[in-house]
Amino acid sequence: MPPFARYLLHTLFPPDVLRPTEVGADVLILATGVIIMVVMTRRHKWRHLWTEWLTTVDHKKIAVMYLIAAIAMLFRGGVDALMIRTNLALPGSPVISASEYNAVFTTHGTIMIFFMAMPFIFALFNAVIPLMIGSRDVAFPRLNAMSFWLFAFGALLFNMSFVIGGSPNAGWTAYPPLTERVFNPGPGENFYFLSLLIAGIGTTMTGINFVVTSLRMRAPGMTLMKMPMFVWSALATSTLILFAFPPLTVALLMSLIDRLFGSSFFTLGHGGMPMMYVNLFWLFGHPEVYIVVLPAFGIFSEVVPTFSRKRLFGYETMVLSIVAIMLLAYGTWVHHFFTMGAGPTVNAFFGLSTMLIAIPTGVKIFNWIFTMWGGRIRTTVAMLYQLAFIPTFVVGGASGIMLATIPADYQFHNSYFLVAHFHNVLIGGTLFGLLSGMYYWWPKMFGRKLDERQGKWAFWLFLTGFWITFGPQYLLGLKGMTRRMYTYPLGYGWHTLNVISTLGAFVMGAGFLVLVYNIVYSMRNGERDLTGDPWDGRTLEWALPSPAPEYNFARIPVVYERDAYWDMKEKGQTLANSLTVRDVHDLELPRNSSLPFFLGLSFFVVGFGMVFSWWIIAGLGFAGVAACLVAVGFDYRGPKRVDAAFIRGTEVALGRLRA
């Protein structure tokens, strides 16, 4: 073999990626790839894929792509979780080695936060925010597509590390100096830094997009205080993104420079300050936990009124709380390292600010309960997730307060008590919220309901599985078990609880399978939503047919009340029965563009080149990025015109306009 080929093989396929799991994954990926290729080619779908999906700038289609990616990543992250849990159930004879375990818990955390929760949130933002505010699209549709492709190629780069080059293995927090090259020689951490940097650019642009969309694109009459709560949560989340991602970018970039160019920002020795990274990371990290939970809060504020058939209780205090949380979220980051010796005054300050943030959170819980009070609660799957959320999240919040109790945190920090806390809020809050939103808006996105009976199965499996998994972990924390151990000696009394926890994880895994079956089944057999308003909804998205036509609103509605669509229904003046031929005019819609895709691809090439320090490839990628940006500047094609006759035809076909 020529030396060059040997070098290439050895770099791309070191022993780390030739273990049975990785080779198995290789086979699976190749097989799936081939099947997809064959099917697509047989059915002549490539052109359709390109023109309708890969180059689309339509927020509704971008939402679908985000959702598919999020569910795929939930699968990957879930498999990681089961590998972690399996090892911990068998301490005497670990199934996977330390090095594989370290890679797997790292990718689990990173994927769940950055490549599952974030795209899932953006899927729902994209699917409904423009519809809720009576708009034809987001403020910057092409930028929106760029965000998606940067995310998608970032996710691809990250996931690739599993089978090519080797996975990152320093935890989702990637504290230096463990990420330094001396301690971490492979390319794994480069994958981590670069993919998060690339996806982070996309996320920041999404933040900009939804700040502007919710501030500038609302239908006439929809003042800020008439905005649905989900839109408020999108506004707050996006604002958090704008100011939280820059410190992350700085921290990642400096770590990357340390690794690639031998600088000493965070190194052991040479005057490096690892703790500076920890500060920067959590300056991002704490807002991030609210970035992922505020959308869930927003979803529940829509789901509860709808399924209680009652107005939201305490709208003003809900808005106040969300804004308070948004601001306070920047002032609590040190609670992640009370035990780094910052001194009693600093610790006390951040302990108190952390407790303070629990107050607006508590207010929201009470408001939801009193939204149900005096209502008529229908236990659909979307509502069930909300009903599970309240008790689960309250326990998670309470354990958060215990962690904020500084001296007690000295005992809880980095133990399984902490692990239980954040899964309690992330699963009970974020994931339940997102699933609730998915069941709720699925008919709006796809025109069919998800089967409720199967959905309930998945729900109960998730909920019981969750408590079986994470309840024991609180106890493990009190028994002194610390996180991220690939195995542990017997004799500490940890074994039984770990076995129980692992069983719970498999119950959740079963829940996931039912969920996927539920989706596949309902794509074909789900009940069709012909009215556009399957749940007797209150906000504007339900005024449209399901799925909404490309232009969303044939005529932009005027808003008078908070629950705009409920108000229309009460007055008997819905969009469906009040549209006349004269209301319909020619429209302009943004034109499809292939540039976002190529921009993402170019960034991917940059990332791939830099991971292995192959500068020529990285340079080509940079050239591609520059070319795409220039091309964007010279794109003089105007918007796409949709003429009134076409819209009239569509609306007639939808039964919303008399011919």
Binding site: G374, P391, P407, Q411, P489
Partner: protein, 297 residues
């Protein structure tokens, strides 16, 4: 006194990977955090209990309200519960749920702040034993600057006397944690952080690192043997008389990325622990006064 407390229950396979005997917990409690044996752990436990009770009350209250809501207002045919579709707020009620959590949190916050300050200081008028702790890949080095002895992967301390640990790392970060004595603190390269603990009862306890630091991190357990002061003095005396001094070559061997069995040294080179302390606070400087600089005496 420090008899065969090791490695019995460790399965052969694990033991063979490690080659290191592991401290086994004493037979007593497995809920180590709930069974502290010193004043620091005890005061942390008190606070935990207070916060736990307060949070338990909150959880209970919310659960009850929530249960009533979903049982009473479930959508059933002929439900007799009142239906008020337009009830959308009540100033006084909403103010209540701002105030009640605030009150409960204040109840927790005051002792929290108090204890935070008081644990940041060594108990007055009691000379501590100083132990310089360095986390290495993947082992613990304990140096006793006042006694001029050093150990690896086990810690001998006297009962009834505060022990001031000065923590640093010559490796990626770890945390130094002995659950039954009290909470953990980071070991970080380039910094020396203080942590004081005290043990009230003779016995064998265990410590572990709480911060993932690489391949063999999970083996960073260490035994803590607490003994009456006289026994401790005897131990120091014996070690100094019989055991050779650590050389720089020995230290360099400890820096290798591996795991080792317990070791004992009757002295150690001064250069192995940083002599300049830059503790970190936002105001700069160390917040807990360091007792006599270990290198100075």
């Amino acid at each position: 006194m420090r008899a065969s407390t090791f490695a019995r229950a460790v399965p052969a396979l694990v033991a063979s990977i490690r080659g290191t005997p592991l401290p086994r917990p004493a037979q007593d409690p497995q809920y180590v955090v709930l069974h502290p044996v010193g004043p620091v752990g005890r005061s942390e436990l008190h606070l935990m209990v207070l916060a736990g009770v307060a949070m338990g009350a909150v959880i209970l209250a919310v659960f009850v309200l929530f249960a009533i809501a979903i049982v009473r207002f479930r959508d059933r045919p002929h439900s007799r519960a009142p239906y008020r579709p337009n009830w959308h707020g009540n100033k006084w009620m909403e103010a209540t749920w701002f105030v009640i959590p605030a009150v409960i949190l204040t109840v927790i916050a005051i002792p929290t702040v108090r204890l935070t300050y008081s644990l940041a200081r060594l108990p007055a008028h009691r000379d501590p034993l100083v132990v310089d702790v360095t986390s290495l890949n993947w082992k613990w080095l304990f140096e006793y600057p006042g006694q001029h002895v050093a150990t690896v992967n086990y810690l001998d301390i006297p009962t009834g006397k505060p022990v001031l640990f000065e923590l640093t790392a010559n490796s990626p970060m770890n945390t130094f944690w002995i659950p039954q004595l009290g909470g953990m603190e980071y070991t970080m390269p380039g910094r020396v952080l203080p942590l004081w603990l005290e043990v009230g009862r003779p016995g064998v306890y265990w410590g572990h690192s709480g911060q993932f630091s690489g391949h063999d991190f999970e083996q960073m357990f260490f035994a803590v043997r607490a003994m009456p002061p006289a026994a401790f003095d005897r131990w120091v005396h014996e070690v100094r008389r019989r055991v050779p001094v650590m050389t720089l070559a020995d230290y360099r061997r400890l820096l290798r990325f591996d795991t080792v069995a317990e070791q004992t040294y009757g002295g150690y080179p001064a250069a192995t622990f940083p002599s300049v302390h830059h503790g970190f606070t936002l105001a700069g400087g160390m917040y807990m006064v360091m007792h006599n600089d270990p290198q100075a005496n």
